[in-house]
């Protein structure tokens, strides 16, 4: 049985114009010790998926259909009290902004200890001692004296390490990292990635990594879901999708970023553009391919019906009519 399995998930936001499906018929599974990455532009539903798993959807959002099964229990139907036990204990989250996610008026040690007191019922002294161990585990030098530091006394990379220490505090089985390195410099990003990789390797924790950077996906993930306008455009093993992307959106996402190449002397052409922008919320849920307006290979069928996910030779599934095989 998979650690996490999401089936036909549909999340609707209540807008003035009516409900808009920001997640539309999304299915995926995640095994213990594996890393799954969600990638796509802003507004494609990556973070909404994470919030749904955590049971932290905004007030205007609701799970309209489908299930989120974690360790045999459907999170969408569990009572709040049981959900609170799972959240923080077994599933924890690392947020994007380490500056705004930490409380500026408490020391980092107090904030880590709070997690342990709440979820594990530890005494203050034990929790503080454990906080020092956790800061040491996320490789903050001189953890014993840094445990009394306030967030503003730390660098951006150190604050993100504190966030990771808090996420690790209860030894969760699943960590969701929402753009954990977006605000950080590349050398610090490399250190954080290495830390997350080692932790997943040592403890068997499963990791969901939300990012917009295909390079990060290549370095970190085993499997990837490319999201577009609330739907999975393409999903499967990272190697298959990077070597032979089948959905035009995936191809565009890979080609539009100037990646460092092994041969910098080669001539530079124009970057591939994906014209236009992500469709507005009001147009989500249409029975058509939502990428059609930006796609170079669009044909009549794309406007008439939503393409299902077709199996591709390399092992991934792509929701594009061009992948239909007789």
């Amino acid at each position: 049985m998979s650690l996490l399995s999401v089936e036909n998930l549909r999340i609707e936001l209540a807008l003035r114009a009516g409900p808009a499906p920001v997640i539309d018929d999304l299915s995926f599974t995640l095994e213990a010790g594996r890393t799954l990455s969600f990638v796509g532009e802003s507004g494609c539903g990556k973070s909404m998926t994470a919030l749904a798993i955590m049971g932290l959807l905004p007030d205007v959002g609701r799970v309209a259909a489908g299930s989120i099964t974690f360790d045999g229990a459907d999170l969408t139907t569990l009572p709040d009290a049981r959900l609170r036990q799972i959240r923080g204990n077994e599933i924890s989250m690392i947020f994007q902004e380490p500056m705004t996610s930490l409380n500026p008026v408490y020391t980092v040690g107090e904030q880590i200890a709070e997690v342990l007191r709440r979820h594990r019922g530890m005494t203050g002294r034990d929790a503080t001692a454990r906080a020092v161990e956790l800061l040491d585990a996320v490789r903050i030098p001189n953890a014993r004296s840094r445990v009394t530091a306030y967030p503003h006394e730390m660098s951006g990379g150190q604050r993100q390490r504190v966030m990771i220490a808090m996420a690790l505090a209860c030894a969760p089985r699943l960590i969701i990292a929402d753009e954990p390195t977006t605000a950080l410099d590349v050398t610090v990003q490399a250190q954080i990635f290495e830390l997350l990789r080692d932790l997943a390797h040592d403890t068997g924790t499963a990791l969901i990594l939300i990012t917009h950077d295909m390079g990060a996906v290549a370095e970190m993930a085993d499997d990837v879901v490319v999201m577009y306008a609330g739907r999975a455009a393409e999903a499967g093993p990272v190697e298959a999708i990077l070597d032979d992307p089948r959905h035009p959106y995936t191809r565009g996402l890979i080609a539009c970023v100037p990646h460092l190449t092994a041969d910098p002397e080669a001539a530079r052409g124009d970057l591939t553009e994906i014209p236009g922008i992500v469709p507005p919320l009001a147009s989500l849920g249409a029975s058509a391919c939502l990428f059609a307006s930006r796609c170079a290979h669009v044909h009549d069928r794309c406007h008439g019906a939503r393409p299902p996910a077709f199996d591709c030779p390399a092992g991934q599934r792509a929701a594009c009519w061009l992948e239909e095989r007789a």
Binding site: G156, D185, T187, A190, H212, L260, T261, A262, T272, I277
Partner: protein, 323 residues
């Protein structure tokens, strides 16, 4: 001849401590660069390395403490009054955040017109036509002149910012992280636009970015900054294929890549933290994080020297990362 010559530029900020103490922060320390007309020089480095301060000081938007910035032979730092105003028309900036760098109370057309009014060029009668021309050049529709910034997407706002920077027909444009706030698909549109405009108008770019992939795509020459100083400077090819300074090597190794040939490369790691900029060590600033550091590095600061023609590096032990 170079369009822009920066010589020994330094920018210091006074940092006030408690009880009347103060210290000097050397944000930019003895930076010299030259940029030929029609080319792109990229300044790269991590946050706090001084790349933005150096470029803004060159555009006289931040006061420099020492040095000279010559545009076509004229030292911008000594100009005052009307001559300074005329010189400002020749140097314009594209800012990072297309949300906060546009006045929300002005219509897009007025935003693009503003520098022409402020710097009084070109003549008044031509300005409306110039705005229309600029909108066409950056790929906006003429009727969009009447809209306010909040009615545009991020990429369109950055197009307005570019049109505003082009308004006074500048020769030098400082692009300060011009695409880092944009989504990847939109980023490609803006990068292509910048390169097209450069070819059409013969623009010279001082391009500031922390994204090495973007820099590799855009630049002709690259200067790597670390804690206010240039640690390595070379043409694009040698800098990316044969970097000499361990910091450059660590930066390049840290970039995640989808290119199979670059993955699994021998990773040079920069561990540890940067030193306190208010109390810098006597030796090399990178020594505390450098895998190659020896006693000499901690005692004597290496000078920026030419190691091979056109390739400068500030390191006692420069060379390939073959460890």
């Amino acid at each position: 001849m170079s369009l822009l010559e920066i010589e020994n530029l330094s920018v210091r900020f006074r940092i006030k401590g408690g009880w009347g103490r103060s210290a000097w922060l050397h944000a930019v320390d003895d930076v010299s660069l030259s940029l030929p007309r029609g080319k792109t020089l990229a300044l790269v480095g991590e946050s706090g390395s001084g790349k933005t301060t150096a470029a803004l000081a060159a555009a006289r938007l931040v006061p420099a403490s020492e040095g000279a910035v010559r545009l076509d032979g004229t030292d911008l730092l000594t100009l005052e009054g009307e001559t300074l105003r005329r010189a400002r028309a020749r140097v314009q900036v594209i800012f990072q955040d297309p949300y906060s760098s546009l006045n929300p109370r002005l219509r897009a057309g007025a935003i693009v017109r503003e520098p022409m009014d402020a710097l009084n060029t070109p003549p008044k009668a031509e300005r409306a036509d110039r705005v229309a021309e600029l909108f066409a050049q950056v790929g906006l529709r003429p009727e969009q002149q009447a809209l306010f910034p909040h009615q545009f997407s991020g990429g369109q706002r950055q197009r307005i910012g570019i049109a505003r920077a082009l308004a006074t027909r500048p020769e030098l444009i400082v692009c300060d992280e011009a695409v880092s706030a944009l989504d990847v698909a939109v980023q490609a549109q803006i990068l292509n636009l910048l390169r097209r405009l450069q070819a059409e108008l013969g623009l010279t770019f001082l391009f500031i970015s922390h994204d090495l992939g973007v820099v590799q795509h855009m630049s002709d020459r690259v200067a790597v900054m670390y804690m206010g100083r240039i640690v390595e400077e070379a043409d694009r090819g040698p800098l990316f294929s044969a970097p000499l300074h361990p910091y450059t090597q660590a930066l390049l190794a840290a970039v995640p890549s989808i290119d199979r040939r670059r993955r699994g490369r021998s990773a040079v790691k920069a561990t540890g933290e940067t030193p306190d900029p208010l109390n810098p060590p006597p030796g090399c600033m990178f020594a505390s994080r450098c895998p190659r550091a020896e006693a000499l590095c901690r005692e004597t600061r290496p000078a920026l020297e030419e190691k091979s023609p056109g390739h400068r590096a500030a390191c006692h032990f420069p060379g390939p990362s073959g460890d």
